[in-house]
Symmetry: C2
Subunit: 191 residues, 2 copies
């Protein structure tokens, strides 16, 4: 067998590139998160991991709400900036020129320039070691009108980013490989 | 503002395409999972969501171990097949011709043909509604030798798949957009 054993690591492909938002002491702040994902189907829930010292986490504890904003590739500079700076020291909204809006929850700031925005209510906060893992129920979903096709979010218009930790690269989505719930039918003949 | 309000939904980009493995009644089985992600850094943890009725979940409860296998795009037929069939009815290992191996945990079956394999010990099982969300600590990490560059996993050789739920498409990784922890420096001048 041609396998190399490595130290236990969280090798996950793809990782997302997300901007997680919270109001900290009443002011909106956003951090870059390159992990987490869908946690439940119905009701819809998302999980994100945040290091304990992060400024955004303070805001999540204050309000028990947060937002998950999906940036398009046009925002890669802003995303990276939000990942290498702390809201304790700079006003990221001002530097990045984010237009902030709020939804039903009133306390989860969202970024108008990001094509997809979810506002979430905290369901669980787990201390798993280096990070808190926060599971939020999606209470509001907003999509930029130009990123819809026939009323549905269109990933080819949203142009999200993959974050690849090993190479520290932001990667675009590529071509469609196959249709889901379909191509696997070919193997039914082998049953 | 040009935002369209939609019903609350788990709009997450990118979603992974994973094969989650467990021994059910002593026999290896694998299911396709298109959600979850990294849950913690140190120790490394991964979370996956599984509907309560799924056959694989039975095996996770039996052993409190599971595996997370990242298929390359060459395995898209097999992945989709594992997503549209149940191990309660067919022997997916046989149909997909998976070569199964085990690591330190002994009870988490892994697929040799998948370039990246993680064996995990269950830390939490949360019932979040339609799905159980299972958080596992990575206890073993295996990478196919040909997918390493300078001893590190190389995503451009691994060729993982994105799963896009809205269009039911498997999507490849595309081009590198920017370098992380770097391009954001350009905005420092605005502080």
């Amino acid at each position: 067998m041609n396998k190399v054993t490595m130290l236990p690591d969280r090798l996950m492909y793809p990782r997302p590139t997300l901007l997680v938002g919270a109001n900290v002491d009443g002011k909106p702040n956003f951090m870059a998160v390159g992990g987490g994902g869908v946690a439940n189907g119905e009701p819809p829930m998302i999980g994100v991991l945040i290091r304990h010292h992060c400024y955004t986490l303070k805001g999540i504890h204050q309000n028990l709400t947060f937002s998950v904003n999906t940036p398009s590739r046009d925002l890669v500079r802003e995303v990276d900036y939000c990942g290498i700076t702390s809201g304790a020291k700079v006003d990221k909204v001002k530097v990045c020129q984010f237009k902030v809006f709020y939804g039903n929850l009133k306390s989860a700031p969202m970024i108008e320039q990001c094509p997809v925005n979810l506002e979430c209510k905290v369901v669980h906060i787990l201390n798993l070691g280096s990070h808190s893992f926060i599971i939020g129920q999606v209470e509001g979903t907003y999509v930029t009108e130009g990123c819809l096709t026939n009323g549905k979010p269109d990933v080819h218009k949203i142009k999200p980013l993959i974050f690849n930790l090993e190479s520290a690269e932001y990667i675009a989505f590529g071509e469609v490989v196959a249709k889901g719930f379909s191509i696997g039918q070919e193997l039914k003949a082998r049953e």
